[in-house]
Symmetry: C2
């Protein structure tokens, strides 16, 4: 096997925590994020700069960002819905800002209360804000295209619309775009085709990451298609937090623990140690004792005689 | 998309029912199998000819085979551990016999209490039995290679051993072999490689089907690899019956409902209608009210605007 590396971007502290009613204590969040980083996760989406009255679960995002910045080698990512959120993210020192844009305008109007053009206008303002910063303090900006693979309101979503809005995000100032299967509608053929169409239309450097859901049980099959197509960053959530498979409409995130096994078993290095990941899961479970955690690996364990993928960086070192 | 067809072989009435403590009433089994066939399943493994004291859940297999034979267009498959079982299967009129052979001899000795050579000797006797039958009444015989992708007792399993035993099964008289990930150890790279090695070593007609487990959540990702490699028959169990993901060691079968969505969404026709499949699930749930049923599609539903794959046979007709 090749020693190819895949980055798992842990979105549990943002996507997971925003989807549940319980509010994790700030000190617990710090312990959890530290444990995730210790397990080898190099990018963690730690929160979202939205008004606290909208998402009280993430009201401490600025403090969490400042804490996470001190963890060595970690890219601290946050969600920002608008310029105001970006200003807060910059002030806190986030390394990466992600702004969502829903390809389904019906979904965009209902969830973000904004048209496509309004979101693109925010992106231009955020770009102007970031360009005022010294280069070495400038966070990266990703435009995340939601409902890329279909919408619960509109049904099928035109791939041409994904390409057009992806182009719009890049023109407005995003460094790259991401594809998101918000509804869990995607299938491997569709995932592969859309990735190749984006690269063909917008260039290979426009897209590195994908956010897939497991709402219909297809999460890891879709990851397989994406990674073998050439995607190098995959979002996942520890314990599938916030994605109860028995609650339709929940986020249904891919489970980090199971994703690590898929990738490492196939020869893709994630840099993640499963034993340490289980310790991070213990921190999570202790912090949210009433929240169900999902995943097969935590119960089934790694296969007898399992070997991690070789890491190129370790082979070279 | 091409109109390629994939056959889902439903193993719930055998693999599912043998893994749970409850015993489904014979009349309920008949209703369930009829509902499965009505939903479009064209091959169902309806039972196992083992002594009733070993698996009381399947003690009515002969009656079930006779019933299922009357369902139009259905291939009635059964498991047989030995010649005695094959004799009973022939007497009942099964269309397809499957005999398991575990590539891990430690597992074979522990589970079947037989060496590889003893199992191969049974296969030769079964072949002789079948060859005495008129051709139009002769069931097919498949040798199913268990623990192909690793063993909980031995750890990694040598692919050369899979090839050697596969060859042994064919020489002893099996019409074809099947690959089984008994332990849920497999990954897509391994699945793809082993399929190609079998075809290269034993010919393209030696292998059409695969039995994958979801013990580590990798079931559908492994199916994707297998089907895109060219496998045309995939085993699955309604509701993942008998495969509780939270009970390590359980069979962890792939969920039929979720598999249908994966395949149809990708453009592979299964011939299965999801609404009718849900009716079969209702029959199952009513028959085994205390048994947990798994799967995402039953809760999440098909995507808005979902279209089934085109069927070649329908296009032609």
């Amino acid at each position: 096997m090749s020693g190819k590396e895949i980055e798992i971007s842990e979105v549990g502290p943002r996507d997971g925590l925003q989807s549940i009613d319980a509010i994790m204590a700030t000190a617990d969040k710090k312990r959890w994020i530290a444990a995730l980083a210790h397990a080898g996760l190099r990018e963690i989406e730690v929160g979202s700069f939205v008004p606290a009255k909208v998402l009280p679960q993430l009201a401490d995002t600025a403090e969490i960002v400042r804490y996470a910045r001190a963890l060595p080698g970690l890219t601290v990512a946050v969600l920002v819905p608008n310029l105001r959120g970006a200003q807060d993210a910059v002030a806190a020192g986030a390394h990466k800002l992600t702004i969502p844009l829903s390809v389904s305008e019906t979904h965009s109007l209902k969830n973000l209360r904004r048209t496509h053009q309004q979101v693109l206008a925010e992106v231009r303002e955020i770009r102007a804000l970031l360009d005022q910063l010294p280069k070495d303090q400038r966070p990266s900006l990703e435009g995340s295209l939601s409902t890329c693979f279909g919408c619960t309101l509109e049904g099928p979503v035109a791939e041409d619309a994904v390409l057009r809005l992806g182009e719009g995000l890049l023109e407005a100032g995003c460094d790259e775009i991401g594809l998101s299967d918000t509804t869990g509608y995607g299938n491997p053929v569709q995932v592969r085709r859309l990735i190749h169409r984006v690269w063909s239309h917008l260039g290979r450097e426009s897209l590195h990451g994908i956010h897939l859901h497991n709402t219909r049980g297809q999460g890891l099959a879709n990851v397989l298609a994406a990674v073998e197509a050439g995607i190098t960053t995959v979002d996942a959530s520890m314990g599938g937090l916030g994605g109860c498979p028995f609650a339709p409409g929940a986020s249904g995130n891919i489970v980090t623990e199971d994703l690590v096994f898929l990738l490492e078993a196939m020869g893709y290095s994630t840099g993640i140690d499963m034993e340490r990941l289980m310790l991070a899961r213990e921190v999570l479970a202790a912090s949210l004792p009433d929240e169900p955690l999902f995943g097969f690996l935590p119960d089934a364990g790694l296969p007898k005689g399992f070997q991690y993928a070789e890491r190129e960086s370790l082979v070279v070192a």
